[in-house]
């Protein structure tokens, strides 16, 4: 059994305004799709909005990989790569 992959969703002001809470709504569906090998957590501002332009928000970390302009569909497909490895 692989180790659980941690998906960290930024709940900071910028990311919230750009739609990060949409991902949190689908928390249960996404976790169920991957047989609970992934776990979704929230986080206060990850600080990425300082390094990238705000258009790149919302930011999500899948494991250590940073995903810009994250949305439900991106998160829906991304963890597959990690789980197959």
């Amino acid at each position: 059994m692989n180790e659980q992959i941690r998906i960290t969703v930024c709940c900071g002001t910028t990311c919230h305004l750009m739609g990060s809470s949409e991902i949190l709504i689908y928390k249960d569906e996404i976790e169920a799709k991957y047989n609970h090998q992934v776990a979704i957590y929230g986080s206060p501002c990850l600080g990425n909005c300082k390094d990238y332009a705000a258009v790149n928000a919302p930011f999500v970390l899948v494991g250590d990989e940073l995903i810009c302009q994250a949305n439900k569909d991106k998160i829906w497909h991304t963890p597959i790569i990690f789980i197959r490895n």
Binding site: V9, C11, G12, T13, T14, H16, L17, M18, S21, L24, I25, K27, I40, Y41, G42, S43, P44, C45, G47, C49, K50, A53, A54, V55, A57
Partner: protein, 398 residues
């Protein structure tokens, strides 16, 4: 208002309109007279109900509070009020009752009462009898006699002063349970019961309990306007609010020190601020993603801190709640902003530590809504808390 370091006066009133009426015939006004360090509260009950009563009671309360804020002679003020009121078109008299409460910084309390039910002073969970001096006056041009009840006493820590309109003690009149209404004695017993069972009840909740009880007595169809005002003397409840990262990184530890040594409730507003303090205090921040809200971002949890929320959106919403006429108890949604407002309203002295660093991302024109500058939002919140809720606030920029 702060009496000295260990005293705080909390004033709150709750009203219920007469069944079928859209305005209240009772008026309650309170005012902080800052240069004199006094608190004034006036309750007036206009003759009858509806708009007519509302006009009369508003006039009376406004005049009474203006006169007493200028230390005008009480008897002269009462006579002027009675002479000025418009004459009721139905009953051909002009009439409104009033109670004026005047508390100064040393805890001296003056109460002038004209025809309202007697006030109740609760001390150590029991009713405390206060000597009342009666003044009999005569208005010559109206050929009418009147009696003013005047009392002067010192308030102590833990005292509760309850003033109410006759809608409370006459509630349920004519019903089987209370043929002559709830009665002043029963109201006093209820106040004693409340204060001994829930000694830490806030003034608003205390008044709410009494009004709800009176409302229930009259089968939820009150026959008169019900108003209850509670003045609570107690130790100040303190709250510290940390928001925004400091302009200089070296001051991070200073913030952590303040929050660590603070006795009272603690709140952090801002994701970056929470991260800074979590690093300095070595406590984890955990976002509670179960409480999703369409407008306000999720709040978080941190050991030793009562509330951790996001910054600018939450405070903007909190300011909107503070300025709106709706009571926060009636707001059904639960999010970071309502939690923050409840924390504000349940505290007396609120200290803000505001970091002045500006997040450039918030100023990006691509953002869907405009975010204000933290300093201004906090100033507006503090202003609303001072003016509307009579709180003490202190803002420190770091």
């Amino acid at each position: 208002m702060q009496l000295d370091k260990n005293f705080f006066i909390e004033v709150a009133s709750v009203q219920k309109f007469k069944h079928g009426q859209r305005v209240c015939g009772d008026t309650f006004k309170s005012m902080k007279v800052d240069h004199d360090k006094r608190i004034l509260a006036v309750l007036s009950d206009g003759l009858g109900s509806g708009v007519r009563a509302n006009v009369i009671s508003t006039m009376t309360a406004t005049m009474a509070i203006t006169y007493s804020s200028n230390k005008y002679d009480n008897i002269k003020a009462a006579e002027t009020i009675m002479n000025t009121l418009p004459i009721d078109s139905v009953r051909k008299i002009s009439y409104a009752t009033f109670t004026i409460v005047d508390i100064d910084y040393a805890g001296r309390c003056d109460i002038i009462d004209y025809d309202n039910p007697p006030f109740i002073l609760i001390r150590n969970g029991k009713r405390y009898e206060v000597p009342i001096k009666k003044y009999n006056g005569n208005i010559s041009n109206l050929a009418r006699k009147y009696t003013l009840n005047m009392s002067r006493f010192n308030l102590q820590l833990g005292d509760k002063l309850i003033i109410f309109s006759d809608g409370v003690n006459q509630s349920g009149m004519g019903s089987n349970a209370f043929p002559f209404g709830w009665g002043i004695v029963k109201v006093q017993e209820f106040c004693e019961y409340l204060s001994s069972k829930y000694p830490n009840l806030s003034a608003r909740s205390f008044a709410q309990e009494i009004v709800e009880h009176a409302n229930a007595n009259s089968n939820y169809k009150p026959q008169d306007d019900i108003t209850c005002c509670v003045i609570n003397i107690r130790e100040p409840r303190r709250l510290v609010v940390m928001t925004g990262p400091p302009i200089d990184k070296a001051r991070d530890s200073y913030l952590a020190e303040i929050i660590n040594n603070f006795s009272g409730k603690k709140a952090i507003c801002g994701g970056t601020t929470a991260k800074i303090l979590s690093r300095e205090l070595q406590e984890d921040v955990e976002v509670d993603i179960t409480s999703l809200d369409p407008i306000v971002p999720c709040s978080s949890k941190m050991q030793g801190v009562d509330l951790v929320t996001e910054g600018m959106i939450t405070m903007g919403e909190a300011l909107r709640y503070l300025k709106s006429k709706e009571f926060i108890e009636d707001v059904k949604t639960e999010n970071g902003a309502t939690k923050l407002v409840k924390l504000f309203l349940n505290s007396d002295i609120i200290e803000f530590y505001v970091g002045t660093k500006i997040n450039d991302a918030h100023q990006d024109p691509n953002m869907p809504i405009e975010l204000g500058i933290r300093r201004n939002t906090i100033r507006r919140i503090a202003n609303a808390l001072e003016k509307r809720y009579l709180k003490d606030t202190k803002i420190t920029f770091v």
